[in-house]
């Protein structure tokens, strides 16, 4: 590729036998051995691997709770569990999936692995703090899982007061878990910001950065500015529960609405923490498999920052029916429509990138295209909910549940799978099975729609969320949803199984199996511990696929 002017030593290596390459270069996986070399590592790539393992375990736990929820809802009666048990099951699902999976997963796994590689650095700016953030994640997760296993939490993932300060379930240990995991995410964001500012390779100007980096940067801004607010909020809840002081308790003059404001001041931007990294992945995958430069690079880059900024001013749309003033509601409603603009800019630009591209449908591209479709539905139904009048009808119904899952699972989860497949050869040095990959993408897409589309319908018809019993007329939608969830479960389990297999037995790959541009593809797969033998010099933008194709021809001649 021509992103590097100087003759590139890896280009030659990528052409040689991949097995030979793996044998001659010590890589980050085999450079040192033993469990200590993993648990005390400062290498961002190894920390990413630690995160892959732990977030996948968290995902499986969260999925198990979701399975219980869907099974209970198969019939209108509460025959599998009691109301309390159901409350605990959906709370476990929400707390695990939001705080232990969705928030950390892409920054901590793909961000950790790729940020230094993509900007031509040897590591993140603070390797020890990076390792510490993984330990904080582990400690926080243990607190959270302890709360769930030792009796459970029944507040949902939102911990609304005064219920959360009066219920006799394990709110304190769950709150402490959220607080600690919050610091893990602050330290990740802090590391990325400093790294992107100070460690870019020579010639890598801001507008030559891959869009994944822009989205990680915007995500990091939200992490460092939003997360401390939820930290102090859940701390106040814990103080109120421990000492009975009444910070949010109306009996002492406390204001429960203040809790909701503080909570959503973080938790609305937090959904952008969850989805922005996904946008970054899609912006990398689409050009690579359409063989075209991204359309509207600077618009996509700036829209990430716009989302991060405007995202801090829309939290009030969660409080339309909570007693917030009508004027505040109108302002928040208008601002929520505003944030649709940068989001739509991204979708239009990805679509425009596809136009006249030479598209091929490898697994990452399939996931990315499915992402666009599902995210479009998720995003547009968000506008329904941002319209204050309509929200009064849809508030606290399955419509909200469906919207949230279209964005978080249909959007974020598919983007994560697109990314993990796309960079799998770089991470593991081995190829994933292409057929199984495509099959799982298809199963996820179909299963997802069967699970969540009926929820839009029944939500619109009035099915409220968070009930374990419901009137019989909704059963057909719930049966569809549960059936779809089992298909979806298979689709999610498949990559866990075949990627684990591929990690040990997959065929080895060369440095750039997808012939993609970007610095991460110019070092061996898996990369050496210091990422590059020689720090690259960058002279052009990140998606020069036209030049790339030409160069291939030149080399072939």
């Amino acid at each position: 590729m021509s992103a590097i002017d100087a003759p590139n030593p890896y280009q030659a290596q990528s052409r040689s036998s991949a097995v030979e390459a793996a044998a001659t270069f010590p890589n980050y996986l085999n450079a040192t051995g033993g469990w200590k070399s993993w648990l005390f590592t400062g290498d961002h790539k190894r920390i990413a691997i630690l995160y892959i393992i732990t977030t996948t375990i968290a995902f499986l736990f969260g999925g198990l709770a979701a399975a219980l929820v869907r099974l209970e809802l198969l019939t209108p009666q509460g025959d599998l569990m009691s109301g309390d048990g159901y409350n605990k099951a959906f709370s476990a699902h929400g707390i695990i999936m939001v705080f232990m999976f969705l928030v950390p997963v892409v920054p901590a796994v793909l961000g950790n692995f790729l940020v230094p590689l993509m900007i031509g650095a040897k590591d993140l700016a603070f390797p020890k703090i990076n390792l510490m953030s993984w330990y904080l994640y582990m400690i926080g997760t243990f607190f959270g899982l302890y709360a769930i296993i030792a009796g459970g939490v029944d507040t949902g993932w939102t911990f609304y007061t005064p219920f959360s300060t009066t219920t006799n379930t394990n709110v304190i240990s769950a709150a402490v878990g959220v607080f600690i995991i919050g610091f893990s995410s602050i330290f990740t964001g802090f590391n990325f910001i400093v790294t992107v500012h100070k460690m870019r390779a020579p010639g890598l100007t801001w507008f030559r950065l891959p869009l994944f980096i822009w989205s990680m940067y915007a995500t990091s801004l939200i992490m460092i500015l939003g997360t401390p607010v939820i930290g102090i909020t859940v701390l106040m809840v814990a103080v109120e529960r421990l000492l009975h002081l009444g910070v949010f308790d109306p009996a002492f003059g406390g204001d429960p609405l203040l809790f909701q404001h503080l909570f959503w001041f973080y938790s609305h931007p937090a959904v952008y923490i969850m989805i922005l990294p996904g946008f970054g992945i899609i912006s990398e995958v689409i050009p690579a498999f359409a063989r075209r430069n991204i359309f509207g690079y600077s618009f996509i880059a700036m829209s990430s920052l716009a989302i991060a900024m405007v995202g801090f001013f829309v939290w009030g749309h969660h409080l339309f029916v909570s007693g917030q003033s009508a004027y505040a509601g109108m302002v928040f409603s208008a601002l929520s429509f505003v944030i649709g603009v940068p989001t739509a800019i991204k979708v239009f630009n990805w679509t425009a990138t596809l136009y006249k591209g030479s598209i091929s449908f490898e697994t990452p591209m399939l996931f990315a295209l499915f992402f666009i479709g599902l995210f479009l539905i998720g995003g547009l139904t968000g506008l329904f909910l941002a319209a204050m009048g309509l929200d009064i009808h849809l508030h606290d119904t399955y419509f909200v549940v469906a919207h949230f899952h279209y964005v978080m699972v249909g959007g974020m989860m598919l983007a994560y799978l697109a990314g993990i497949h796309y960079w799998w050869p770089k991470i593991s040095g081995r190829m994933y099975p292409e057929f199984l990959g495509k099959l799982s993408a298809l199963i996820v897409f179909v299963g997802f729609h069967i699970t969540f589309f009926p929820q839009f319908v029944m939500g619109y018809m009035g099915m409220p969320r968070q009930y374990h019993e419901y009137v019989a007329e909704f059963q057909v939608y719930h049966v569809l949803s549960t059936a779809g969830a089992s298909v979806l479960g298979v689709g999610f389990l498949m990559p866990v199984v075949y990627l684990t297999y591929s990690w040990f037995y997959g065929p080895r790959v060369n440095s750039n199996p997808f012939k993609a541009t970007g610095l991460e593809w110019q070092t061996s797969s898996p990369p050496p511990t210091t990422n590059f033998v020689e720090i690259p010099v960058v002279t052009v933008g990140p998606y020069e696929y036209a030049d790339f194709e030409e160069n291939e021809l030149v080399h072939a001649r």
Binding site: A125, V194, K198, I224, L225, T227, I232, H244, G246, F252
Partner: protein, 250 residues
């Protein structure tokens, strides 16, 4: 990492023992460390921001109760503590300067004065909290806010009877709402106090490292970062002091 490098850095520019392996040069490393601390400080400000917001909301909801409760704090202790912290910030800045010009003796002196000031701040806070305990102003079961307390400053006023009635008309639950002020007071000063204690730990660590002669004109980043952190602790107090001590004195 160039662990084999000679300790005498001036003769071996290529093997700087203070340069971590993943940085290209010292300038990059220093800038990264300094930016990192600034980013961390913005996180800290948002962390305190949540509490400041809660304080402001309750102040707006219960102006009478917050005014009365605030007037029972000791402004003179507050002023003394503010001066103590400002002095400590000055000595910290001088300490950073001493490190940059390479004077170990001055560095140790200034760091020690800063540590003493920080200790004095915590002692004074302890005195104030103990006073609150004796006046039953610790929120919880034993909390007791008496509008007729003859030792309270507001009851000394000539027209207190009239004002008391006016306050009770404006806020019949003023005594209960006064507890909210003290909840916020202890949360804010407590969280700030924890930061002072962390700062004292950092300064002590820096004194120990300075005694081991670890710092010189080329390597003093830890001192600089400790200084930045300490100034933040100071700045937060500058906002905290008028917010909790002076709201009723206009």
């Amino acid at each position: 990492m160039s662990t084999h490098a000679s300790a005498d850095v001036h003769h071996h520019e290529g093997h700087d023992p203070y340069l971590a392996h993943h940085f290209e040069d010292r300038a990059q490393q220093d800038e990264a460390h300094s930016l990192g601390l600034w980013v961390f400080l913005s996180t800290e400000i948002m962390f305190f921001g949540g509490l400041f917001l809660a304080f402001t909301v309750y102040h707006v909801l219960f102006p009478e109760a917050f005014g009365l409760a605030s007037s029972r704090l000791s402004v003179s202790w507050g002023v003394i503590n503010t001066i103590v912290l400002l002095v400590s910030s000055f000595t910290m800045a001088m300490g950073v300067h001493s490190a940059q010009v390479g004077s170990r003796k001055l560095l140790l002196t200034f760091l020690s004065i800063t540590l003493l000031c920080a200790g004095a701040f915590m002692v004074i806070k302890g005195i104030e909290w103990t006073e609150k305990y004796h006046h039953h102003l610790i929120p919880g079961a034993s909390f007791h806010f008496d509008l007729n307390d003859p030792t309270a400053p507001e009851t000394q006023l000539a027209n207190w009877g009239e004002r008391r009635e006016a306050i009770l008309i404006a806020d019949p639950h003023v005594e209960r709402h006064a507890q909210m002020f003290y909840v916020m007071y202890f949360c804010l000063t407590g969280l700030h106090g924890i930061h002072v204690l962390i700062g004292m730990g950092l300064i002590t660590w820096m004194i120990l490292r300075a005694k081991r002669n670890e710092f010189n004109t080329r390597w003093n980043t830890p001192i600089e970062l400790t200084g930045l952190y300490w100034h933040l602790v100071d700045v937060i107090w500058i906002y905290l002091f008028p917010l909790i001590y002076l709201i009723h004195r206009h």
